[in-house]
């Protein structure tokens, strides 16, 4: 495959330049969140909905901060364990944030926070039919991915590893198979990345982008780490476009053998 364009990719008709989608949780302060978001170059920030206290009104302050950063908003349904919870949360998010985009999470297991694929597909079908543009948080399972596409999803977001684990790409084989099976579908690795090298590896596989949060927010210096992730994504994407060599099991001399002196 000859790829000549690196600059722009499209998610649900929206042209984007940055391939990094950044979460907004767990930063040391609102100011550091804002600075890290800018340093990362991310054009999409993920947010959630939570109960608003009439006394504290924390959500209003948070919204002003996010609005001022100026990025596109991708609301999530984090913490939802049922189709009904996820669908209701998506409707509430659409009204609050004024976007048809939703990062759909239907969690199936509390320890791994892995998606419930059955609930995910059902919720994706309901929301897609209702005009939502669904970004499903899924696994690398090929059959689930097929069902999500049939349900109306035009983007897939397989995990790298469990949310917040920082383990990187747990199943490179599965992710590579997914990429090969869906050459035209935007694929975003969502969750489990801990290091810029993990993000670069995802891009080298030909993934279209990554979504991460904890790796930046919990770094010693979130702003510097956000910048590092941005650089890693560029390097990984450039490497993919450059056409990586095939790996092999045995050594192969890179220096010519012919012309080698005999010095014994």
């Amino acid at each position: 495959m000859l790829v000549t364009s690196n600059s722009v990719f499209t998610l649900y008709g929206v042209k984007l330049h940055s391939r990094l989608m950044l979460g907004t949780s767990q930063y040391p302060s609102p100011a550091i969140l804002a600075e890290a978001a800018c340093a990362s170059g991310a054009e999409i920030l993920t947010v959630s909905l939570r109960r608003e206290s009439a006394r504290l009104k924390e959500g209003q302050d948070f919204w002003r901060l996010i609005r001022d950063i100026g990025a596109r908003i991708l609301p999530n349904t984090a913490g939802c364990y049922s189709v009904k919870e996820a669908v209701t949360t998506a409707h509430m998010a659409r009204e609050v944030f004024g976007t048809p985009w939703v990062k759909l999470e239907v969690i199936g297991e509390a320890d791994t926070l892995q998606p419930d694929p059955f609930g995910l597909v059902e919720a994706a079908r309901i929301l897609s039919a209702d005009g939502f543009q669904v970004f499903p948080y899924t696994t690398e399972d090929l059959v689930v991915a097929e069902r999500l596409i049939e349900a109306g999803c035009s983007v897939l977001m397989p995990w790298g590893a469990p949310i917040g684990s920082g383990k990187g790409l747990n199943n490179v084989f599965g992710l590579r198979a997914l990429r090969a099976h869906f050459p035209e579908v935007p694929l975003i690795v969502d969750a489990g990345l801990g290091l810029p090298s993990h993000a670069a590896a995802a891009m080298e596989l030909g993934y279209d982008g990554v979504l991460l949060n904890t790796a930046v927010a919990k770094a010693g210096d979130p702003v510097a780490m956000a910048r590092a992730f941005g650089q890693a994504l560029e390097a990984g994407r450039a490497a993919f476009l450059a056409g990586p060599m095939e790996s092999r099991d045995m050594a192969a001399p890179s220096t010519p053998v012919v012309g080698r002196a005999v010095l014994t």
Binding site: Q26, V47, R50, G164
Partner: protein, 65 residues
Amino acid sequence: MKLVVNGELQEVPAATLAEAVHSLDLGEAKVATALNGEFVPARARASTPVKDGDRIEILAPRQGG
């Protein structure tokens, strides 16, 4: 009127969801509402009556991954 607002039982002087949100000083806030687990759009709050024991969720933007 006794309503369960965001999980807490409260006395709220309101006959409709809109009045309840307003009396909680969130009438102008960027929030979404649900009544007994069902989403109620902002435009429908004024025509949605509330009764004793109803569960109201009032959600706002928050950090997310």
